[in-house]
Amino acid sequence: MGSTVLTLNGCVGALSTVDPAGPAARTIATLWWVMLTGAIMIFALVVILVAASFRKRKGAIADRFWVLILGIAFPVTVLLALLGYGLFVGERLLQRQGADVVRVAAEGRQWDWQFSYDDLPGQTTAGVLHIPAGQPVDVAITSADVVHSFWVPRLAGKMDAIPGRVNVLRIEADTPGTFRGLSSEFSGRGYDNFTFDVVAHDAADWTLFLQGETE
């Protein structure tokens, strides 16, 4: 039923941030719908006020009401609430210690990704990242040349790949499947096609993968 609603709304897509397949993306998608609703209501308020100013007979409203109530008190309330919500979500998405966290690494360069695995030393895969489904995965992201960015929209937000630095992003896929990823920092001529895939395996397949199967 949920996916029907999504399809009808045109939300479904391999790169859609509003068709989440993991906890981080889902939290952010909810955040988006809440903000959109609030934004529409505030926009409507402003449009109504502007339109109403054209009427011939309006009540006399004190200067202080416009400035102190509408201009200060109202935005302060809304913004503080939003900020609190946003910081709370941000804290929740951090890559905190956990027993079942799987660690992988991603090195970007013009114009492909090399992925390596803590649990599979010495092996790398190009263009495809293998992860277990249902478990948090920390991706240690860096770059071999210019600034890139690791982004799998259906699973989580993005994290830049910066030469000389390693940035860690936590991603998790709810269920097994293949998820499209993009490098999302402009990197020159080959940027258009600079994409990759994330394959989330169920427990059995993941074990097989760790035993040396690299496709």
Binding site: L80, L87, G90, E91, L94, Q95, R96
Partner: protein, 100 residues
């Protein structure tokens, strides 16, 4: 010119303090400072609030007041901006994770 400075001083103090606290945060995480990092950051937050309160008090004090009621009004308004900004923009020192 003093009148112009009265109007600008509180937000200027906020900007300097905000940048300094962000800098302290950068040094703490960049240099891996392990001694009381949270206390340092919250201390800087409280110090900033103290500074802004002092500036605001000075703007209200008759001794430093401008002869112009307009300048008094605007500078007191920006004085409050400085204080509110200090509280609002630096309260994350108390509740967010600092080096992750």
């Amino acid at each position: 010119m003093t009148d112009v400075l009265r109007i600008l001083i509180a937000p200027l103090v906020w900007l300097a303090a905000f940048s300094a606290v962000y800098g302290v945060h950068g040094v703490i995480c960049g240099q891996g400072i392990e001694t009381m990092p949270r206390a340092l950051l919250v201390g800087a937050f409280i110090l900033t609030i103290g500074l802004q309160v002092a500036v605001l008090a000075a703007l209200y004090a008759p001794r430093f007041a401008s002869p112009s009621p307009f300048v008094r009004f605007v500078s007191q308004a920006t004085g409050w901006v400085g204080l509110v900004a200090a509280v609002w923009t630096l309260f994350p020192t108390t509740v967010t994770t600092y080096c992750m």
